[in-house]
Subunit: 340 residues, 2 copies
Amino acid sequence: MEKMNMVKLAKELNLSVSTVSKALLDSHEISAKTKERVIELAKKYNYKPNKFASSLRKGKSKFIAVIIPEINNNFFSIVVDSINSFAANKEYDLLVYLTHEKLISEISVMEHLEISRVDGIIMSLCSQTKTYDHIIKFQKDTELPIVFFDRVTTLEDFPRIITNNYESAFEATMHLFKQGSKIPFYLYSSELNYINKERHRGFRDAMIRNGIEETESHCVQCADDWEINYSIIYNLLSSENPPDAIFASIEKLAITVYEVAKDLNFKIPQQLKVISFSNLRTAALLSPSLSTVSQPAFEMGEQSVKLLFKMIEKKFYKNANDIITINSKLDFRDSTKNSK
Amino acid sequence: MEKMNMVKLAKELNLSVSTVSKALLDSHEISAKTKERVIELAKKYNYKPNKFASSLRKGKSKFIAVIIPEINNNFFSIVVDSINSFAANKEYDLLVYLTHEKLISEISVMEHLEISRVDGIIMSLCSQTKTYDHIIKFQKDTELPIVFFDRVTTLEDFPRIITNNYESAFEATMHLFKQGSKIPFYLYSSELNYINKERHRGFRDAMIRNGIEETESHCVQCADDWEINYSIIYNLLSSENPPDAIFASIEKLAITVYEVAKDLNFKIPQQLKVISFSNLRTAALLSPSLSTVSQPAFEMGEQSVKLLFKMIEKKFYKNANDIITINSKLDFRDSTKNSK
């Protein structure tokens, strides 16, 4: 069957396109009798008005954009799952953009969204983002609501959904000392973002609390690349004074620590204790089971999308500089067992 | 600053909206001088034409929809990552829909897409899908190109990107026998879909090859729910004649087998060998390391999106009943070690 459109419908009904369009949108300007005629013929041809065309008229696209560094990552995939559930309830569709930790991709996605049409954005910054000019410009040009989660800006005027990074990092490091570590190290992947600074600060304060004032040599910056990280960790564990404990700021660094330890025949936890921020489904099944700080991924997604909908409905982004903190959960397992 | 739109631009320039619109689209109908005036004023107000409005005129939305059962799953998140990379190169945006293994969600997403505007669909069926009426209807009404991957239809006229399910399942089961198993079991989560039938058939043929003709009592159907699966597997391993090997058709069943074995103090591989279809990043780090059949997730995503773009460009969906098979990779690890 030939594809139907509004022009063909109008022609067959001997009505204007505008009348047909208004009838299909149930406009009060159109008589009940005309609406009936239009709907009947539309049904006959199985014609449904184009969502985009109709959303253009209504002023809402019913799309939200989710901009994240990666999707093949337990934390982010749970967040997307969560956002999806709540968005679907409100008949919103998700546009998913991945930056792959590249600032150039993040900027290009935002430029693209300037001329696209979404009702709001939920976003977690890539690891290279150190300044926020592209975000300030986007906000000024589009006036669209944006909610940041996890890797947030430090800019005011943007609502942020975060976890208690400082306290969790402090507790995790204190736990390493309590389990017998003398020289814990902190592994992280990017220098300047807000959550990493908080985790860094938590690590440092726990070190100072345990009498170690010089902490910078205990903090090792890694990369976004598996091979580079493998060699950084390999060199660290093969060095003359290797760490006796590692606190990893992200899950993939902990996995690489396990891989290197296996290859070097380094015993976890006897020679090396490991704890990590992680949402790994198999943490308890690893050899040995991995102690984790789990971020509340599902709840963070839920709060992000609920806040975004509030902003879309009330258009109050300028006052929405809320910070919502949802606590992480510490699970101590065999990888930090006291081996004495 | 007040938000600019085409109507305001047209007013200030004393031109018609249509002229402004055509000028911004660089139409040959508009003089160079007028274009210059329009672009200059648009720049002054930092006005960029709306992507959707302009795509409506051009006849392409530059959106593709990806419909998958879940995103918090290594296989599907790698596929989405892969589709995203290739789509971004062509300046296409991804709409991601999750069915959470519910047929009712799958149908509702397809109904929704009938009135939305996407240029094509990449899809993997949910576990409840046993008939294809909603897909046939969608195809007839919209004439949009659809590529299926992994969990595909058996309908002709739809291109399918799959892996060698039969051969992989056969090899995996043969491996269990070779490693000393006498009574391997097959665990799967949904009965009637195409790939499960293929895996089932591979298992059965390997059983017959090893002299076991009655295979149905060795095939255990599980669910989409962790608790139900836990109790099914718990009962199986606690039964009078427990299996000495398990071939799991999906990763999460293998993880649950590990969890139950741990709780029951069942030794893998001494008492129970385990092999599974899986894209688990940590398979080699589990206790014990898990033998896997890894599907080529990234390549399957790549082939799906490349084929979809070919269909979008050439509009030849009716002839595109291609089946592209990309082989899986078997990695034998400690979970299937011969313990004799």
